[in-house]
Symmetry: C2
Subunit: 248 residues, 2 copies
């Protein structure tokens, strides 16, 4: 783990840019933090990056309200990572098939499954590194990610026993039902009722598939890219706090 | 309005049994309350009554956490109200039709619509009376009701402009879609994913039909009669507080 810039601090939160191997990330912790605390890994959306405003706002809320650490890394082909010709070629091939009339959902699912084979081990390596810091430590880990952050987050949470609670949303059972069935930690699942990219039935099918005894679905009107309501994010944080605080 | 027993108080909440005309009710207010405050009308479930434990617990939470008033009255044929032969005859006739293979949902809808023609004006009269008390007053009104409390609550909220926010659940679009479409106040809608009495599609159809710009659906595993989780009730109270506090 290498820190790439000096830490900046503001309103009680410290922000550090780092890399683990080829993976650039941002870590947020409470200013002056000096012991172990729960850690939330945030998965950014498609075309977004580790320090996008919506990610940063959520990370800072984890730090300021809950005293947690939060971390987000760039997905391959996003943010500070180089363009990957293999992913780019596949994305273009998919685009042509959609223009020729192919259904979008199975192609998105196929693409995300391919990317997840790379991001699942990358994110686990980031957990190893970040939890090695004395001011983060080895407490419970939470996951938050919608859209691409759900498509990559479901296989990650299914594979990673250190994650004890997850917020997912705007995802599809076409992509992730099999991995979702292997998950047993509490899941909060967000749906946009007018999502134009994920058919409602696919979205409900993913919720159905989640193996956890404690799971809840929260739907509101709006399209795929509608920004989350402030009270929705409050509820996300309250859910994570209920499951991460006090656990080893 | 007649008070039928002396008030009892406990842990900061005062409980008064009353009647308005033929309608018996219970009013909960903060001990020593002496000015206007938001009021939550609770609709009890089928076979339950105005002072059932789940109603009482929610009412006391409205009082203790939010400083609100809460009120619940017996639905015809429930609690301290006499058996109504007309309703009883109809219920028995429906029961026979179900045994002969008729679909349950349209019969429940027909029955609840009939009862609502009586309860809507009764509940409005209770609002008139309770809001006339100086320690309740004329602030915003909220509604909470699931199952029968949803079936009767949708037509009530559609008809009653003093209600500014509603929590409904375990209800069906077969019964209430037309009235739900006329509602414009914020609605929080609760679904049991494994509800054996309300088919999932009917439940989603009711959420779909709600006319409000701000509405949200919250689904959890469980059957029709699964008791609400404590954190679900917390979220209900937080929703009501967001919409009722500070409004005239």
């Amino acid at each position: 783990m290498r820190f790439l810039s000096s830490a900046t601090a503001q309103d009680g939160a410290r922000e550090q840019v780092f890399s683990v191997g080829e993976v650039p990330g941002v870590l947020w912790t409470p200013e002056g933090a000096d012991g172990p605390r729960p850690l939330v890994l945030l998965g950014h959306g498609g075309g977004r990056h580790k320090n996008a405003p919506e990610i940063r706002e959520l990370a800072l809320s984890c730090v300021r309200r809950s005293g947690y650490a939060a971390v987000c890394v760039d997905v391959p082909g996003h943010g500070d990572r180089p363009v990957d010709p293999a992913y780019d070629d596949l994305a273009r091939a998919h685009q042509r098939r959609v223009e020729d009339g192919a259904e979008l959902a199975p192609l998105v699912a196929e693409f995300q499954a391919l990317v997840a084979r790379q991001t699942v081990p990358e994110w686990s390596a980031v957990l190893d590194a970040v939890r090695g810091l004395p001011y983060v430590g080895e407490r419970a880990v939470g996951y938050w990610g919608v859209s691409l952050g759900c498509g990559l987050g479901v296989p990650f949470v299914a594979a990673e026993p250190r994650v004890r609670a997850a917020v997912w949303g705007l995802g599809s059972g076409v992509a992730n039902a099999a991995e979702a069935a292997r998950v047993s930690v509490p899941v909060r699942f967000l749906v946009r009722w007018d999502d134009e990219r994920v058919p409602r039935a696919d979205s409900l099918a993913l919720f159905d598939a989640i193996g956890s005894a404690e799971k809840s679905l929260h739907a509101r009107p709006g399209t795929h890219s509608a920004p989350p309501e402030a009270y929705e994010l409050d509820d996300d944080l309250r859910f994570l706090a209920r499951h991460l605080s006090g656990r080893a």
